[in-house]
Amino acid sequence: MEQLEGMKALAMAIVVGVGVFGPGLGIGILVSKALEAIGRNPEASSDIRSTMILGVAFTEALAIFAIVVGFIIKYV
């Protein structure tokens, strides 16, 4: 029983750690490209910003799913 608890804690840590890796890279790339675009064309900055935030939300959702899976492993 102790071992199962330990494995669950470990599994949650791995799930969250690995699951956040991809979205972290993705959001970094996304925002850097958006900043480049704003730098090239400052007039379109409000359009670019709202599209960027939508993209960030979709990417971030993946990290959130990883955390949800982590919670399910730990508590269900």
């Binding site: 935030i53 971030e60 799913f65």
Partner: protein
């Protein structure tokens, strides 16, 4: 874990009315609503032709937000229709996040039995660390978005975005859109919950290990995170509303 840092996911019940558990997060959210309503009444009565400092700040905040909503939705009537709920979400999330950082929240309470062992049950607790609250907010945002889509396009055309039989590919894409729509409920609620819960835990760990100086910058960071999450929640409601009222193609 029992001795050192108290971290728990489920909210603690302070007392019960019948079978309804009155949790510390529920009390804090009532307090937040009271603060917001009292502020609104006070502000309503103190509006002057020559604005004071508070009035200038609020006018810049609300007016700027209104201009942004109008610019995004590209219509005066739509902005008038959806601005109130978006701004209400923003103010509620902001107020709950910031009230959760006040001294006394999480530390004033009574000793009692919660979740099977004796613990301090606080009267006030950061509201958004309770998944019930964030799921309720996510449901409000979700139904606002869906109803906005149905009003703008009609039930049949809006439903046609998700289930249509033009071609196998369109059908498949529609189903994926439908799943994405449902996944918003999860991402909306867990984004807010995760950020505030992680922030509270980080603060707790900082106070536990380095009680003197370290909690101050962490606290400042949490103020920032609370504001950002409020903006993100309101902004995503706005942008998803814009997607929902867009013509299907």
């Amino acid at each position: 874990m029992e001795k050192g840092i108290a971290i728990h996911l489920a909210p603690q019940a302070v007392f019960h009315i019948g079978s309804l558990a009155i949790t510390s997060t529920l009390i804090t959210s009532w307090l937040t609503v009271a603060v917001l309503v009292l502020f609104a009444i006070y502000f309503r009565n103190s509006v002057r032709l020559v604005p004071g400092r508070l009035q200038v700040t609020m006018e810049a905040l609300v007016g700027g937000a209104y201009d942004y909503v109008q610019e995004t939705l590209e219509s005066e009537t739509l902005a008038r229709r959806y601005f109130p709920i978006i701004m209400t979400i923003f103010f509620f999330v902001l107020a709950t996040n910031w009230i959760g950082l006040l001294p006394g929240v999480t530390s004033i309470g009574i000793w009692g039995v919660s979740h099977g062992h004796e613990a301090l049950i606080p009267f006030f607790y950061p509201v958004n660390t309770d998944l019930n609250v964030t799921i309720a907010l996510a449901l409000i945002a979700f139904f606002t978005i869906e109803v906005a889509g149905i009003i703008a396009l009609g039930a049949l055309r809006y439903g046609g975005k998700f289930i249509n039989f033009h071609s196998p590919l369109a059908f498949f894409i529609g189903i994926i859109e439908l799943i994405g729509e449902m996944a918003r409920l999860v991402s909306f609620s867990f984004r807010l919950f995760g950020n505030i819960f992680a922030g509270k835990t980080l603060l707790l760990v900082a106070i536990f290990f380095v009680p003197l100086v370290l909690p101050v910058p962490v606290m400042a960071f949490e103020l920032f995170v609370g504001a950002i999450q409020a903006v993100v929640f309101a902004l995503l409601t706005l942008l998803f509303t814009k997607l929902a009222i867009a013509e299907p193609h």
